[in-house]
Symmetry: C2
Amino acid sequence: MTYTDAYERLIKTFTPRDDLSPDDVALLRSMPLRIVTFGKGEEIIAQDSEVSESCLMMTGWTGRAVYLESGKRQITALHIAGDFVDLHGFTLKYMDHSVVALTATQVAFVRHEELKRITQVSPHLTRLLWLLTTIDGAVQRTTIASLGRRPALERLGHLLCELDCRLAVVGLADEHRFDIPLVQEELADILGLSVVHMNRTIQELRKGGLVAWQGSKVVIPDFSKLAQFSGFDPRYLNFIKRER
Amino acid sequence: MTYTDAYERLIKTFTPRDDLSPDDVALLRSMPLRIVTFGKGEEIIAQDSEVSESCLMMTGWTGRAVYLESGKRQITALHIAGDFVDLHGFTLKYMDHSVVALTATQVAFVRHEELKRITQVSPHLTRLLWLLTTIDGAVQRTTIASLGRRPALERLGHLLCELDCRLAVVGLADEHRFDIPLVQEELADILGLSVVHMNRTIQELRKGGLVAWQGSKVVIPDFSKLAQFSGFDPRYLNFIKRER
DNA sequence: CGAGCTTTTGAAGAACGTCAAGAGTTGTGG
DNA sequence: CCACAACTCTTGACGTTCTTCAAAAGCTCG
């Protein structure tokens, strides 16, 4: 993963949503990046810390984890290549969650001074960065609706539909086949379930024929069927090009 | 509620988080507002609609509601005076949720052209508006953690602590006393519970002495006790002044 | 006073969690 | 290349939390 790749990755995060002017692209490329590798299980950002840079995912999977006093953990979001995991840290500074590497990972850190510079020279790019955080909010709302009102089976189906869509956009899913490099305990922490019930829910979804899932390989034989079963409507992901 | 009040309300939304320059204030006051009244139960913004203005709450309570195919409803957020309910609509345009008036309500609509104008002339005010949406995201993460990992009783306690803090900042709570103008069905839709279990959970919290709650009047006799019981840590609300 | 809404209660059942243990898999060191 | 340890997945049994259904009681407002 070279610096050139990193800038390309960043540019490709915007282009499904709006066109970038040559000036926008040049401005993005002018930002110094710090590329760092993390091993599986390592903590990239600590909960309750103060931050002065934000990180863009290059490879691997990360999650935002909230640790409760009870010792329980909730993973509030999953992130893959192209996701600006903690862009909200630019405005918030205070991190209400940790960021943990769920697989070996490469990320590019951008200093907040650089982002601030963008806000001072490019209103358009500023709105696009802002957009990334509001899309994140839309995903979070969908997660809230799932946790609050969908039973475990639909909740899992909905997550698989979302991951399929997001992975496809960055070339990591093809014909509804993709890799989920997560253990069931992590999936349980995402869906708010116990590990045992997570296991039984996966088995039930498999048995129903809605997904084929062996090891980390997932295949969704009939996407629209799973989407309908899970109440999945991709519009909240905002993969639509318009003037922003 | 006059126009002057509306601008004051808007300004007071920022000041707990950062100071505004005279230019910032003048710019805010230059935005045309459209003040509208809604009756209890009315829909202010429809789910799946396209929007070209965003609304700031003046009086009353609103909620963001997601309606699922199953007929179930999840209220993903509550909003009170000073909240910019759908500021994310400025960047997203597509509304993945509805906004519903939970009480009689006055809101001020700001056209997106005006917000765009701000992004073109004031990087600082742009960052502050952006901040409001990222704080919203932090609240959503906390909601996800509650729904995923807290049992009903703690979930309710946590909500009450959050409301106490937020209402106090806008002068609607004093000495941990405030009004919750919501019926138990609405609370159930916020906490992801059935109405019956919502009722029993409220009773249990009352019985435990953690809250006094009769009709819509809530009193938290020992806030830190309830906060500890519920795992509430107000830092995610970002009521802290710093350079943004 | 009555209609409609909201709160409350009881009873039964479904969904999910916990505990415990066995089976399968992966990785590591000798 | 094998043996062992550690991790992960799976299963069974049982308990708890929460839901559903149904109905009664209380409240509000014309």
